[in-house]
Symmetry: C2
Subunit: 259 residues, 2 copies
Amino acid sequence: MKKTQPIGIFDSGIGGTSIFKEIHALLPLEDIIYLADSINAPYGIKSREKIIALSKKNTELLLKNGCKIIVVACNTATTNAIGFLRNNYNVPIIGIEPAIKPAALKTKRKAIGILATKGTLSSELFHKTSGLFAKDIEVIEVIGSGLVEAIEAGKENSASTKKLLEVLLQPMLAKNIDYLVLGCSHYPYLIPILKEILLKDIIIIDSGEAVARQTKFILNSLGLLNEAQKKTSISFYTNKSPEILKHFVPNHPVQYLDF
Amino acid sequence: MKKTQPIGIFDSGIGGTSIFKEIHALLPLEDIIYLADSINAPYGIKSREKIIALSKKNTELLLKNGCKIIVVACNTATTNAIGFLRNNYNVPIIGIEPAIKPAALKTKRKAIGILATKGTLSSELFHKTSGLFAKDIEVIEVIGSGLVEAIEAGKENSASTKKLLEVLLQPMLAKNIDYLVLGCSHYPYLIPILKEILLKDIIIIDSGEAVARQTKFILNSLGLLNEAQKKTSISFYTNKSPEILKHFVPNHPVQYLDF
């Protein structure tokens, strides 16, 4: 493995671009390849077997393109497929988990909200984390039905998405939460309308910055941080409309690829 | 690389057993090989070239014995040799750094103390961390001259060591610090007498727990966590007196080895 090999990131669609942005900001000298498996979005409603098969396909494509590390920038793929990936491929695999732990440690009102997909909320990994760190805290779980689809359609800022969120968040607004954990890499794009809906003193936490720090830490431990000053290569591939992906990463080249 | 391969730890002597204890507590199913290079202790007063050569020797012995990850349980070896090790060996290398960041984030009195070896305090890595996280904070640095030698001699609890510490800590006691960072893996063994000398409200931080968490995180990311329930093999090797090492790890076998 060489320092100059790229970082590979995949997601069920464009959501993981929120993770990409944190990684690129922290590690500006690293080449990055991003796969948006939008044709199969959302993963959150698929079976575990299907999610594993899709994660395998994405990982193998990234490895074929020389990636030195794989970032699973999708909560649903992390909770369902990360064990499989770690056991079958010889590179570090980083996943994203809802930031239950920091929220549970910081909440003063002893009530936190978590907005995530069905696949994440019903997973064993989520229940383990939640049981470990939030056992004395009320955790109000909300399935974000329809949100991934809205964001994938480029409607992250629309009136209809705001209305949908207002309905979905009712159970949280009824309780006195002080932290809202975003448990899906798509959801950071909802932060502008979330801030309009939520009370001002509710703090929103996503996982992007933590994932970027973890990526840096692992690459550094393996002597694989790219510190060479040169023009970096950032590539985005999608198997659906490049326009939507382009909308979220306007400064980078986006290509269609059949995968 | 296989999950069943051991974790390798080395230190200039017995100090890293404080790190071993944290790793063993967090990862009780992992086999561990520990090298105490006591014949060359203390590293803190040696040249950078010498420290790199010693770190190379220890790492290669651990790799020859099949270690899947190397923990440099010595601050001086970390600050001087970790870049060399990461660039030359194909396994994750974890080092220990003084916990300046958490102390700097938590201090209310804006004054923290750091007790470390000359080699650590004069290193580039230390100055970078200190400049990054503690720029608005008074950092009172004290070189722990003679402390590693006292601990290596099994005198971590003696009246003479307490007297030495009282003299060394004078510059810190004169200032109103609220956190004392232990920047050498030997020093956690001084905590009982440190608590007698320091004011009760001064919080002592060492790096052991953080290193254990990082080791777990990296092994997990690489699919290399050993989760098999079986009798674990814990081996301690020293190139000086086994009695001293035995004194710090009374429940584990200790062997002399010429390395």
